[in-house]
Symmetry: C2
Subunit: 332 residues, 2 copies
């Protein structure tokens, strides 16, 4: 098989256990070259997420990727303090990583994104796996952003599946509905990876054990973090396992998995103060005709993928890091 040329990627995240998985996947896959990372408050504060990101990059041996701290507060109201019951107090399940001595760059996340969008004009791909505050800010800093970006993939929302933070709203969107509304109304093609597909692709305890048994320190650290994450999901799934929100969005962004059901439809974000605030209102009334695309719509809503995701996720990391170890192994 011919290796695809790696495309330049900007990752916007709130690191976060599943963000850590997404970051590891993007570092491992030969399909992506990660050229910059911005953080936003969500699972943890933007500053805390930047620290976790820097420490993970150090552990992974990628000390060269710039990390920028983004918005601490959403457009309306202020940061709610994160989700320690899901991700632990430090955002990565209490796992203590060797601290990086690198600092975030001076630029904000939105500024870094705009810089990279110009540097890689027409080629940069964006993966946004936290609240969309930074992306909305970048759109305001550079209204031509939709022309400069090749595409954007967002983990967020719930289409026909229940929400996870309210009956109908998913956390990334609900943490800044106004920003999400701006991002989804902009004139670019969005791929939305909602709970419909992230909750039906699950990491099991056997997968976690595989990570723990790996010789690579990133895999081991991820396995440890997942111990905490699995604990939260016991109440959701009735067993120790977890959804794979962010790594699935990353894999979809790099075309690492096949989409078997992903209609392009009108999507509107509910920014009222009512019970549906933060909902991604996806027009899926075409359900009974097999979800045909809607003319003029720009948001592709991923409802199904064509394979079991966990083996792809673990296999991608294993393949990358095994070959790395082989390359750096001392000659006998």
């Amino acid at each position: 098989m011919i290796q695809p040329t790696a495309a330049p990627f900007y990752l916007d995240c709130d690191t976060g256990i599943d963000d850590a998985l997404a970051l590891a996947y993007l570092l491992a896959t030969p399909r992506a070259e990660l050229v910059g990372i911005g953080t936003v408050s969500g699972n943890i504060s933007a500053a805390g997420g930047a620290r976790n990101t820097l420490d993970l990059l150090k552990l992974a041996g990628h000390p060269d990727i710039p990390v920028a701290i983004g918005a601490h507060d959403p457009q309306v109201g202020s940061f709610h303090g994160g989700a320690p019951h899901v991700h632990g107090d430090n955002g990565i399940g209490g796992v203590e990583l060797a601290p990086s001595d690198r600092e975030p760059v001076e630029a904000t996340a939105a500024e870094l994104l705009v810089q990279l969008a110009h540097k890689y004009a027409g080629a940069l791909r964006v993966v946004a796996i936290g609240p969309l505050t930074n992306i909305a800010e970048a759109l305001r800093l550079e209204p031509r952003l939709p022309d400069l970006i090749a595409e954007i993939t967002i983990m967020g929302g719930a289409a026909l599946a229940p929400g996870n933070i309210t009956p109908v709203a998913e956390a990334n969107i609900a943490n800044d509905p106004e920003a999400a509304a701006e991002v989804l109304a902009a004139e670019w093609n969005v791929t939305l990876v909602p709970l419909d597909v992230t909750m039906t692709n699950v990491l099991e305890e056997t997968h976690r054990q595989e990570l723990l048994a790996s010789e690579h320190p990133v895999s081991q650290a991820l396995g440890e973090m997942l111990g905490y994450y699995f604990g939260f999901y016991v109440d959701i799934f009735g067993r120790a396992c977890s959804a794979m929100h962010d790594p699935l969005a990353a894999a979809i962004a790099v075309r690492g998995v096949e989409l078997t059901l992903a209609p392009t439809v009108r999507v509107e974000v509910d920014t009222t103060s009512g019970p549906s605030r933060g909902q991604t209102v996806c027009d899926l009334r075409g359900q009974y005709l097999g979800f045909p695309d809607q003319r003029g719509a720009r948001c592709r809503v991923v409802l199904e993928i064509g394979e079991d995701f966990a083996p792809h996720l673990l296999g991608t990391m294993q393949a990358a890091w095994l070959s790395e170890e082989e390359l750096t192994a001392p000659v006998a």
Copy 2:
């Protein structure tokens, strides 16, 4: 099998092709004694719905059931003029019935409901298959209504299925969200029959042909009406057939069909002016545990029934009317 004792029922409707099916079913089933009918604007005006109802009662040989005209306008705004593209200009697909010479009663629908609730205190069952304006009005007329009514079954809303009038809202609820919010917040046990189950139980052309071939004039008239209704649904289902919203709610109300998935959960109606206005926000976050009931919740949301509904619907009418013909057949 021992025939169950017929319970007294009040029907609130906007007749309507599928309302006509529900009415026919309630007249046919031995499980219900229809003691009063109120109409509300929805598929057609409240006054037009009352005329259709009186004409259908005449055709069915039930000239004794009181019919009351209810609210013409919803609580906010005014009646939008009905759904002639779905139900025809006269509400029953252009079918012309022999006109009844009966008049609606003097009382409003809400007043009739309150009267019947006292007359059949503790026993009356309510089936509401139109916008909930009359039911909300009755709750204000008689705050003890929840204690007087045995139970209420509502055709309306969309839980995990798409809406039919907006991406997330179903017509009965969206036509008067404020009334629906009042009805769902009242202290009674509600069974909600949403699009999730009414759109997956379909009448096919073969069923329509069965109705047309019947010797009973009500079945024949229903078959003719469905010709119009099927035409609307071609764009939804890709073939001539129809959903069975209202008759399914009626059958569930009389316990004519088995519910295989119907969790009791918190339900809130969106009354904002945002994109989710009229949505029934059902808390189905328990999906991954098989939808357990929620403590303190009072609304049972029907998601699945255990059988093919069309044979039950047609069979109920056939059984009732065959025996009627036998009873009235001249002795040879």
